[in-house]
């Protein structure tokens, strides 16, 4: 009974198509229509500006806690644009850009961050789940949806987002394992933004990559430059096609960076170096993409200027709408809604109690 080696042939590919300066590796250039490229760029810029604006509103005390996405626009947009409307998208709590692409109203986001439950409504036909705050728990829902799709013999897929920190939770491993065992049509998009609050990626796991974790579960794993929207797109496209054709799940690790605070309640100066942030500024996903689009003559400085103006007024409109909406909501008795399909008697009487208290205030 000799010792012998089991040949596993595990390798992880790292994909990068636009370099740091936005220069293209033309052999790897994905085939994306001009129209889609322009819409992707617009969404990345819109969500960057919206993110900045929200941070502002929070600092002015007009909103509660929220988790900025700055720096992760490519990792989100590159992946999510590959989905069809009938596919499912399952976010964590830091996918604002991907959510807006999927049709989430910006005004609803503002409402949630300003403490109104109304903002978490999901439109009738939407197949995007609400944000999920308990880290990694949404991954199990995603593979469950994927199982249901397979069971119903449908052709749709699920794309689920999570962070680097999430890879430490049991739920993460349980969901990858389920996806492997049952070959569910689920694409995992890991936003490896290098930090989980104050814990750097290197202290989260001894693994060299996060992508390799998929291999242990029998799934292909790939690492991409998450600030290169073309690389993210290519990997996501391939993964979604695989899932759609019945070949199961893929795990994509997007190597990106959390340029901002963890949430508005966090102070990163306690635990990370500004130099590191500066280094990543040079790899900004938007400016790289703009360089590519300019080289392709799809975008000019003038266009960018116009677009910035357009975005400014769009955001202004959203904020106006938000301010108007807030005036019309907030009835405390509404907290009893949507707890059960039918309100049980004890809630009916508690609701009456709240209404009476309100009248006496």
């Amino acid at each position: 009974m000799p010792k012998k080696e089991i040949d596993l042939e595990y390798k992880i590919e790292h994909l990068s198509i636009l370099n740091q300066d936005g220069e293209l590796d033309s052999e790897l250039e994905p085939d994306i229509s001009d129209d889609l490229l322009i819409r992707m760029h617009r969404m990345m810029l819109l969500t960057r500006r919206f993110d900045e604006r929200m941070l502002n509103l929070q600092r002015q005390g007009k909103m509660g806690t929220f988790a900025p996405i700055k720096g992760q626009e490519a990792s989100q947009i590159g992946a999510v644009v590959v989905l069809e409307d009938e596919d499912w998208m399952v976010p964590s709590f830091r996918e604002m850009a991907a959510e807006v692409w999927r049709g989430k109203e910006m005004v609803d986001m503002l409402l949630v961050f300003a403490g109104f439950n109304e903002g978490s409504r999901v439109p009738e036909k939407s197949r995007t789940l609400p944000v999920c705050i308990p880290v990694a728990s949404q991954l199990l829902h995603a593979v469950g949806i994927a199982y249901a799709i397979k069971y119903k013999q449908e052709k749709n897929v699920v794309m689920v987002f999570h962070g680097d920190g999430a890879t430490s939770e049991g739920d993460f491993h349980e969901s990858l394992n389920f996806a492997g065992v049952f070959q569910t049509p689920c694409v995992f998009v890991c936003q490896n933004n290098q930090w989980a609050i104050s814990i750097p990626r290197s202290k989260q796991t001894r693994s060299k990559t996060l992508a390799q974790k998929a291999l242990a579960y029998g799934l292909p794993g790939v690492q991409v430059d998450g600030n290169d929207v073309l690389a993210v797109y290519s990997a996501a496209k391939e993964a979604v096609e695989r899932a759609r054709s019945g070949k199961g799940s893929t795990f994509i690790e997007c190597v990106t960076y959390r340029m901002s605070v963890h949430t508005t309640a966090d102070d990163p100066s306690v635990y990370r170096d500004d130099d590191e942030v500066k280094q990543w500024e040079a790899r900004d996903p938007i400016s790289r993409f703009q360089k590519y689009l300019k080289d392709k003559e799809l975008l000019s400085e003038d266009d960018i200027e116009k677009l910035e103006e357009e975005i400014k007024s769009e955001i202004k409109g959203v904020i106006k709408d938000w301010e108007d909406k807030m005036k019309k909501m907030g009835d405390p008795a509404d907290m009893f809604e949507f707890q059960y399909a039918e309100m049980p008697p004890h809630l009916v009487s508690q609701k009456e109690e709240v209404e009476k208290n309100k009248a006496n205030r």
Binding site: I133, I197, S198
Partner: protein, 326 residues
Amino acid sequence: MKKMTMVEAINLALKQEMEKDEDVLVLGEDVGMDGGVFRVTKGLLDAYGEDRVIDTPLAESMIAGVSIGMAIHGLKPVCEIQFSGFSYFSFHQMEAHAARYRGRSHGRFSIQMVLRCPYGGGVRALEHHSESREVYYAHTPGLKMVIPSGPRKARALLVSAIRDPDPVIFYEPKAVYRAFREEVPEDEETFPIGQSEVVREGKDLTFITYGAMLKPTIDAAETLKEEDGVEAEVIDLLTISPLDDEKFTESVQKTGRAVIVHEAHRSFGPGAEMIARLVEKSFLYLEAPICRVTGYDVVIPLYQREKDYIPDVKRILKGARETLDF
């Protein structure tokens, strides 16, 4: 004596216990370099190093589970779960193991650990950051459940919890963390787990409360004195389980009237157990139905409606006056 916030007082307890006993260590998400998201463990990493102040990977079940193992082999872990709303990831370990090893091993193993979590509303946070579900733990045989109401008691109780041979769940009212300061002695102070305290004496009505609800309850008692000429007694439970029913039994037998105030949901909440004990032991002393002023039986709403969910002075007064007028 120095005036401290609850955050500083808990920090002092951790520091002094670590100084005194090498087996005490701290672990959790962001407890090291960051000093915890509420800064409760600030400075501990510098003072005691990475082996004793452990920034763990992100997994609550792991935090609780490895703490159990550490305790089995003689350490005294104090673990932090960032928010009580995420402690359900670790609940399995606490319920299935921390609470049971003593019994399962016929007394051979003690799980001397503390699981600290901030709980309750009041910080304009997102979903899962504001709840008050201490009953999950209080309902679990083998666990102790402690909730301090102010800085001084928080410090004293945490020291007792760390030294307690059984697993203690230590809920910290995050709304109180920095709300006010209290004098906290530099010298060691403990307070017995399983003991409540009469914090205001009165003969007409008994308030029973704990945690973040103590402050509005005392304010309500003061208003009752001024506006109604009523002397209300206020009992701060401090430990939810094992429940000290002696003090409130004695008090209600004197006043004949009881109002229970908690942030937790009403149905099957802590108040339900208190009422059961009162009915069992003081039924014939009651002059009025026992009143509960509590959170409602809904998921705590986001912050715009939070103030309508969490009991406030107005609601406490209304409950008290109905009880007095019965």
